[in-house]
Protein backbone atom coordinates (compact mmCIF):
# COMPACT_ATOMS: atom_id res chain seq x y z
CA UNK A 1 0.00 0.00 0.00
CA UNK A 2 1.63 3.19 -1.20
CA UNK A 3 0.55 6.69 -0.29
CA UNK A 4 -0.52 9.10 -3.04
CA UNK A 5 2.55 11.04 -4.20
CA UNK A 6 0.85 14.31 -3.28
CA UNK A 7 1.28 13.30 0.38
CA UNK A 8 4.97 12.67 -0.17
CA UNK A 9 5.37 16.17 -1.61
CA UNK A 10 3.44 17.72 1.28
CA UNK A 11 5.30 15.80 3.96
CA UNK A 12 8.86 15.87 2.66
CA UNK A 13 8.89 18.75 0.14
CA UNK A 14 9.83 21.45 2.70
CA UNK A 15 12.65 19.31 4.15
CA UNK A 16 14.11 18.59 0.71
CA UNK A 17 13.93 22.31 -0.14
CA UNK A 18 15.88 23.16 3.04
CA UNK A 19 18.50 20.57 2.15
CA UNK A 20 18.79 21.85 -1.43
CA UNK A 21 19.06 25.43 -0.21
CA UNK A 22 21.79 24.56 2.28
CA UNK A 23 23.76 22.55 -0.27
CA UNK A 24 23.27 24.74 -3.36
CA UNK A 25 22.18 28.16 -2.15
CA UNK A 26 19.10 30.15 -3.09
CA UNK A 27 19.83 30.32 -6.83
CA UNK A 28 19.95 26.66 -7.75
CA UNK A 29 17.96 25.08 -4.93
CA UNK A 30 14.61 25.20 -6.68
CA UNK A 31 15.99 23.62 -9.86
CA UNK A 32 17.42 20.78 -7.80
CA UNK A 33 14.15 20.38 -5.89
CA UNK A 34 12.18 20.16 -9.15
CA UNK A 35 14.55 17.65 -10.67
CA UNK A 36 14.41 15.60 -7.49
CA UNK A 37 10.64 15.39 -7.30
CA UNK A 38 10.06 14.70 -11.00
CA UNK A 39 12.61 11.92 -10.77
CA UNK A 40 11.01 10.62 -7.56
CA UNK A 41 7.53 10.69 -9.13
CA UNK A 42 8.75 8.59 -12.04
CA UNK A 43 10.37 6.00 -9.78
CA UNK A 44 7.69 6.06 -7.10
CA UNK A 45 5.60 3.05 -8.23
CA UNK A 46 8.71 0.85 -7.93
CA UNK A 47 9.74 2.06 -4.48
CA UNK A 48 9.43 -0.81 -1.98
CA UNK A 49 6.51 -0.05 0.36
CA UNK A 50 8.72 -0.30 3.45
CA UNK A 51 11.45 1.97 2.07
CA UNK A 52 12.69 4.96 4.07
CA UNK A 53 11.15 7.74 1.98
CA UNK A 54 13.24 10.47 3.60
CA UNK A 55 16.56 8.76 2.81
CA UNK A 56 15.34 7.88 -0.69
CA UNK A 57 14.51 11.52 -1.45
CA UNK A 58 17.78 12.82 0.00
CA UNK A 59 19.66 10.31 -2.15
CA UNK A 60 17.93 11.61 -5.29
CA UNK A 61 18.41 15.23 -4.15
CA UNK A 62 22.11 14.56 -3.62
CA UNK A 63 22.52 13.27 -7.19
CA UNK A 64 20.50 16.14 -8.63
CA UNK A 65 22.51 18.65 -6.60
CA UNK A 66 25.70 17.25 -8.07
CA UNK A 67 24.19 17.62 -11.57
CA UNK A 68 23.03 21.16 -10.88
CA UNK A 69 26.46 22.11 -9.50
CA UNK A 70 28.13 20.76 -12.62
CA UNK A 71 25.69 22.61 -14.87
CA UNK A 72 26.25 25.80 -12.86
CA UNK A 73 30.00 25.45 -13.28
CA UNK A 74 29.49 25.40 -17.06
CA UNK A 75 27.37 28.52 -17.06
CA UNK A 76 29.05 31.55 -18.68
CA UNK A 77 28.48 33.73 -15.61
CA UNK A 78 29.80 31.90 -12.57
CA UNK A 79 28.18 32.56 -9.23
CA UNK A 80 31.46 33.96 -7.89
CA UNK A 81 31.24 37.07 -10.03
CA UNK A 82 27.88 38.10 -8.59
CA UNK A 83 27.87 40.96 -6.10
CA UNK A 84 28.75 39.95 -2.58
CA UNK A 85 25.29 40.76 -1.22
CA UNK A 86 22.46 39.40 -3.39
CA UNK A 87 19.94 41.97 -4.55
CA UNK A 88 16.92 42.36 -2.36
CA UNK A 89 13.93 41.02 -4.26
CA UNK A 90 11.47 41.67 -1.47
CA UNK A 91 10.13 38.15 -1.65
CA UNK A 92 9.26 36.82 1.79
CA UNK A 93 10.75 33.43 1.03
CA UNK A 94 14.25 34.81 0.47
CA UNK A 95 16.31 33.44 3.25
CA UNK A 96 19.28 34.91 4.96
CA UNK A 97 22.21 35.52 2.61
CA UNK A 98 24.70 35.49 5.50
CA UNK A 99 24.01 31.83 6.21
CA UNK A 100 24.46 30.87 2.58
CA UNK A 101 27.73 32.81 2.38
CA UNK A 102 29.02 30.89 5.39
CA UNK A 103 27.81 27.56 3.97
CA UNK A 104 29.25 28.29 0.54
CA UNK A 105 32.68 28.81 2.08
CA UNK A 106 32.68 25.21 3.41
CA UNK A 107 34.14 22.36 1.36
CA UNK A 108 31.29 20.64 -0.52
CA UNK A 109 31.78 17.44 1.49
CA UNK A 110 31.26 19.30 4.79
CA UNK A 111 28.29 21.27 3.49
CA UNK A 112 26.63 18.03 2.34
CA UNK A 113 27.33 16.20 5.60
CA UNK A 114 25.96 19.12 7.63
CA UNK A 115 22.81 19.44 5.50
CA UNK A 116 22.04 15.73 5.28
CA UNK A 117 22.59 15.18 8.97
CA UNK A 118 21.18 18.31 10.56
CA UNK A 119 18.39 19.15 8.11
CA UNK A 120 17.37 15.71 6.81
CA UNK A 121 18.27 13.72 9.91
CA UNK A 122 20.26 11.14 7.96
CA UNK A 123 22.58 8.94 10.05
CA UNK A 124 26.31 9.26 9.26
CA UNK A 125 26.38 5.73 7.90
CA UNK A 126 23.92 6.66 5.17
CA UNK A 127 25.71 9.92 4.47
CA UNK A 128 28.90 7.92 3.95
CA UNK A 129 27.11 5.61 1.52
CA UNK A 130 25.88 8.65 -0.38
CA UNK A 131 29.00 10.81 -0.48
CA UNK A 132 31.68 8.11 -0.29
CA UNK A 133 34.20 7.58 2.48
CA UNK A 134 33.74 6.04 5.90
CA UNK A 135 31.08 6.68 8.52
CA UNK A 136 33.73 8.32 10.70
CA UNK A 137 34.78 10.58 7.86
CA UNK A 138 31.16 11.68 7.39
CA UNK A 139 30.85 12.37 11.12
CA UNK A 140 34.08 14.38 11.07
CA UNK A 141 33.00 16.33 7.99
CA UNK A 142 29.76 17.33 9.72
CA UNK A 143 31.55 18.23 12.97
CA UNK A 144 34.19 20.28 11.16
CA UNK A 145 31.51 22.01 9.11
CA UNK A 146 29.51 22.96 12.19
CA UNK A 147 32.66 24.16 13.96
CA UNK A 148 33.57 26.44 11.06
CA UNK A 149 30.01 27.74 10.78
CA UNK A 150 29.98 28.69 14.46
CA UNK A 151 32.96 30.92 13.72
CA UNK A 152 31.92 32.33 10.36
CA UNK A 153 28.23 32.72 11.06
CA UNK A 154 28.30 34.08 14.58
CA UNK A 155 24.77 35.39 14.93
CA UNK A 156 23.53 31.86 15.65
CA UNK A 157 21.83 31.26 18.99
CA UNK A 158 22.05 34.82 20.30
CA UNK A 159 19.20 36.00 18.14
CA UNK A 160 17.04 32.93 18.42
CA UNK A 161 15.73 33.98 21.81
CA UNK A 162 16.12 30.43 23.10
CA UNK A 163 19.28 30.79 25.16
CA UNK A 164 18.54 34.24 26.58
Amino acid sequence: MRRPFEQIVAEYGPMVLRVCRAVLGPQDAEDAWSETFVSALKAYPDLPPDANVEAWLVTIAHRKSVDVTRAAARRPTPVETLPERPGVTGRPEDWDGDLWRALKALPARQRQAVAYHYLAGLPYKEIAALCGGSTDAARRAAADGIKTLRGTYPRLTDQSGVTR
Binding site: F5, M15, E30, P45, D98, G121
Partner: protein
Protein backbone atom coordinates in the same frame (compact mmCIF):
# COMPACT_ATOMS: atom_id res chain seq x y z
CA UNK B 1 11.91 16.84 11.05
CA UNK B 2 15.37 17.51 12.45
CA UNK B 3 16.58 14.46 14.28
CA UNK B 4 20.15 15.63 14.60
CA UNK B 5 22.31 14.65 17.51
CA UNK B 6 23.13 18.23 18.45
CA UNK B 7 20.13 20.57 18.72
CA UNK B 8 22.45 23.55 19.23
CA UNK B 9 23.93 22.94 15.79
CA UNK B 10 20.46 22.61 14.28
CA UNK B 11 19.73 26.13 15.50
CA UNK B 12 22.42 27.43 13.18
CA UNK B 13 19.88 26.92 10.42
CA UNK B 14 17.11 28.98 12.01
CA UNK B 15 17.44 31.41 9.09
CA UNK B 16 16.46 28.63 6.69
CA UNK B 17 12.68 28.44 6.95
CA UNK B 18 11.32 24.97 7.79
CA UNK B 19 8.11 25.91 5.99
CA UNK B 20 8.03 28.22 2.99
CA UNK B 21 4.50 28.10 1.56
CA UNK B 22 5.06 30.51 -1.38
CA UNK B 23 8.11 28.54 -2.53
CA UNK B 24 6.27 25.23 -2.11
CA UNK B 25 3.28 26.52 -4.10
CA UNK B 26 5.61 27.60 -6.90
CA UNK B 27 7.48 24.29 -6.87
CA UNK B 28 4.29 22.27 -6.75
CA UNK B 29 2.98 24.03 -9.83
CA UNK B 30 6.27 23.42 -11.61
CA UNK B 31 6.15 19.74 -10.63
CA UNK B 32 2.62 19.35 -12.00
CA UNK B 33 3.61 21.02 -15.29
CA UNK B 34 6.67 18.87 -15.73
CA UNK B 35 4.83 15.67 -14.73
CA UNK B 36 2.09 16.41 -17.28
CA UNK B 37 4.63 17.14 -19.99
CA UNK B 38 6.53 13.95 -19.33
CA UNK B 39 3.36 11.89 -19.09
CA UNK B 40 3.90 10.69 -15.51
CA UNK B 41 0.90 12.37 -13.87
CA UNK B 42 -1.28 9.27 -13.78
CA UNK B 43 -4.03 10.72 -11.57
CA UNK B 44 -4.85 14.42 -11.18
CA UNK B 45 -7.35 15.56 -8.57
CA UNK B 46 -9.03 18.56 -7.07
CA UNK B 47 -11.90 19.29 -4.69
CA UNK B 48 -15.04 21.22 -5.57
CA UNK B 49 -17.51 22.79 -3.13
CA UNK B 50 -21.12 22.02 -4.06
CA UNK B 51 -24.58 22.07 -2.43
CA UNK B 52 -24.06 18.39 -1.52
CA UNK B 53 -20.74 19.10 0.17
CA UNK B 54 -17.14 19.05 -0.96
CA UNK B 55 -16.52 16.65 -3.83
CA UNK B 56 -13.27 15.00 -4.77
CA UNK B 57 -12.77 14.77 -8.55
CA UNK B 58 -10.00 12.60 -9.98
CA UNK B 59 -8.97 12.09 -13.57
CA UNK B 60 -6.55 9.90 -15.49
CA UNK B 61 -5.36 10.87 -18.97
CA UNK B 62 -8.36 8.93 -20.33
CA UNK B 63 -10.95 10.85 -18.36
CA UNK B 64 -12.80 11.30 -15.11
CA UNK B 65 -12.15 8.20 -13.01
CA UNK B 66 -13.60 9.03 -9.59
CA UNK B 67 -16.08 11.35 -7.94
CA UNK B 68 -16.31 11.09 -4.16
CA UNK B 69 -18.37 12.77 -1.46
CA UNK B 70 -16.87 14.15 1.73
CA UNK B 71 -18.59 11.40 3.76
CA UNK B 72 -16.55 8.86 1.81
CA UNK B 73 -13.33 10.34 3.30
CA UNK B 74 -11.27 11.90 0.54
CA UNK B 75 -7.95 10.75 1.99
CA UNK B 76 -9.16 7.15 2.05
CA UNK B 77 -10.42 7.51 -1.53
CA UNK B 78 -7.03 8.83 -2.67
CA UNK B 79 -5.28 5.93 -0.96
CA UNK B 80 -7.52 3.49 -2.80
CA UNK B 81 -6.81 5.26 -6.09
CA UNK B 82 -3.10 4.88 -5.35
CA UNK B 83 -3.68 1.12 -5.04
CA UNK B 84 -6.21 0.61 -7.82
CA UNK B 85 -4.90 3.03 -10.46
CA UNK B 86 -1.46 4.43 -9.66
CA UNK B 87 0.31 6.16 -6.75
CA UNK B 88 1.49 8.89 -9.15
CA UNK B 89 -1.20 11.21 -7.86
CA UNK B 90 -0.98 14.99 -7.62
CA UNK B 91 -3.42 17.75 -6.82
CA UNK B 92 -3.62 19.28 -10.30
CA UNK B 93 -6.89 21.14 -10.81
CA UNK B 94 -6.35 22.12 -14.46
CA UNK B 95 -7.12 18.61 -15.75
CA UNK B 96 -10.49 18.85 -14.00
CA UNK B 97 -11.51 22.29 -15.23
CA UNK B 98 -14.10 20.94 -17.66
CA UNK B 99 -15.59 18.45 -15.18
CA UNK B 100 -15.78 21.18 -12.53
CA UNK B 101 -17.44 23.59 -14.93
CA UNK B 102 -20.09 21.03 -15.93
CA UNK B 103 -20.80 20.07 -12.31
CA UNK B 104 -21.18 23.74 -11.37
CA UNK B 105 -23.62 24.21 -14.24
CA UNK B 106 -25.52 21.12 -13.11
CA UNK B 107 -25.89 22.45 -9.57
CA UNK B 108 -26.92 25.83 -10.95
CA UNK B 109 -29.74 24.09 -12.87
CA UNK B 110 -28.19 24.95 -16.22
CA UNK B 111 -27.08 21.46 -17.25
CA UNK B 112 -29.11 18.25 -17.52
CA UNK B 113 -26.47 15.88 -18.87
CA UNK B 114 -22.74 15.54 -18.66
CA UNK B 115 -20.52 15.43 -21.68
CA UNK B 116 -17.16 14.30 -20.34
CA UNK B 117 -14.62 11.62 -21.21
CA UNK B 118 -14.93 8.91 -18.56
CA UNK B 119 -12.41 6.33 -17.40
CA UNK B 120 -14.49 3.29 -16.40
CA UNK B 121 -11.63 1.20 -15.07
CA UNK B 122 -12.92 1.16 -11.47
CA UNK B 123 -16.11 -0.63 -12.48
CA UNK B 124 -16.24 -4.06 -14.06
CA UNK B 125 -18.59 -6.72 -15.35
CA UNK B 126 -22.27 -6.57 -14.49
CA UNK B 127 -21.83 -3.49 -12.33
CA UNK B 128 -20.43 -1.62 -15.26
CA UNK B 129 -23.32 -2.73 -17.47
CA UNK B 130 -25.74 -1.39 -14.88
CA UNK B 131 -23.89 1.92 -14.65
CA UNK B 132 -23.81 2.26 -18.42
CA UNK B 133 -27.57 1.90 -18.47
CA UNK B 134 -27.97 4.54 -15.75
CA UNK B 135 -26.69 7.17 -18.12
CA UNK B 136 -29.90 6.69 -20.10
CA UNK B 137 -32.13 7.71 -17.19
CA UNK B 138 -32.84 11.33 -18.01
CA UNK B 139 -32.61 14.35 -15.77
CA UNK B 140 -35.58 14.58 -13.41
CA UNK B 141 -36.62 10.95 -14.05
CA UNK B 142 -36.22 7.95 -11.76
CA UNK B 143 -36.24 4.19 -12.14
CA UNK B 144 -36.62 1.51 -9.49
CA UNK B 145 -33.83 -0.95 -8.75
CA UNK B 146 -36.06 -3.66 -10.26
CA UNK B 147 -36.57 -1.67 -13.46
CA UNK B 148 -32.85 -1.14 -13.82
CA UNK B 149 -32.24 -4.85 -13.28
CA UNK B 150 -34.72 -5.67 -16.03
CA UNK B 151 -33.17 -3.10 -18.36
CA UNK B 152 -29.74 -4.58 -17.72
CA UNK B 153 -31.11 -7.96 -18.84
CA UNK B 154 -31.13 -9.61 -15.39
CA UNK B 155 -34.54 -8.93 -13.83
CA UNK B 156 -33.72 -11.00 -10.73
CA UNK B 157 -30.48 -9.16 -10.03
CA UNK B 158 -32.15 -6.39 -8.02
CA UNK B 159 -29.66 -6.69 -5.18
CA UNK B 160 -26.73 -6.62 -7.60
CA UNK B 161 -28.13 -3.41 -9.06
CA UNK B 162 -28.14 -1.96 -5.55
CA UNK B 163 -24.50 -2.95 -5.17
CA UNK B 164 -23.63 -1.46 -8.58
CA UNK B 165 -25.20 1.83 -7.54
CA UNK B 166 -23.57 1.79 -4.11
CA UNK B 167 -20.13 1.24 -5.64
CA UNK B 168 -20.58 3.68 -8.54
CA UNK B 169 -17.15 5.31 -8.93
CA UNK B 170 -18.67 8.27 -10.77
CA UNK B 171 -21.77 9.43 -8.86
CA UNK B 172 -23.60 12.51 -10.18
CA UNK B 173 -22.02 12.12 -13.61
CA UNK B 174 -23.37 8.56 -13.78
CA UNK B 175 -26.72 9.29 -12.12
CA UNK B 176 -27.21 6.48 -9.62
CA UNK B 177 -29.21 8.95 -7.52
CA UNK B 178 -32.04 8.46 -10.05
CA UNK B 179 -32.47 4.84 -8.98
CA UNK B 180 -35.01 4.59 -6.14
CA UNK B 181 -36.93 1.89 -4.29
CA UNK B 182 -40.07 0.40 -5.81
CA UNK B 183 -42.14 1.95 -2.99
CA UNK B 184 -40.97 5.38 -4.07
CA UNK B 185 -38.59 6.00 -1.18
CA UNK B 186 -35.12 7.15 -2.12
CA UNK B 187 -32.94 4.30 -0.83
CA UNK B 188 -29.25 4.51 -0.01
CA UNK B 189 -26.61 6.73 -1.55
CA UNK B 190 -22.84 7.05 -1.40
CA UNK B 191 -23.22 10.72 -0.55
CA UNK B 192 -25.75 9.92 2.20
CA UNK B 193 -29.57 9.79 1.97
CA UNK B 194 -29.92 13.56 2.41
CA UNK B 195 -27.73 14.26 -0.60
CA UNK B 196 -29.85 11.90 -2.70
CA UNK B 197 -33.10 13.54 -1.63
CA UNK B 198 -31.61 16.94 -2.33
CA UNK B 199 -30.54 15.95 -5.86
CA UNK B 200 -33.92 14.41 -6.66
CA UNK B 201 -35.73 17.51 -5.37
CA UNK B 202 -33.41 19.78 -7.33
CA UNK B 203 -34.03 17.88 -10.57
CA UNK B 204 -37.80 17.78 -9.99
CA UNK B 205 -37.93 21.52 -9.41
CA UNK B 206 -35.97 22.41 -12.53
Amino acid sequence: MTTASDPQAGRLFAALPTQDPPAMARLHERLVDQAQREGVLDVAYRTLDTPVGRLLLASTVQGLVKVAFAVQDHNAVLRRLADDVSPRILEAPARLDEASRQLEEYFAGRRTRFDLPLDWRLSKGFRREVLTHLREIGYGHTESYAEVAAAAGSPRAVRAVGTACATNPLPLVVPCHRVVRSDGSAGGYAGGPDAKLRLLAMERAA
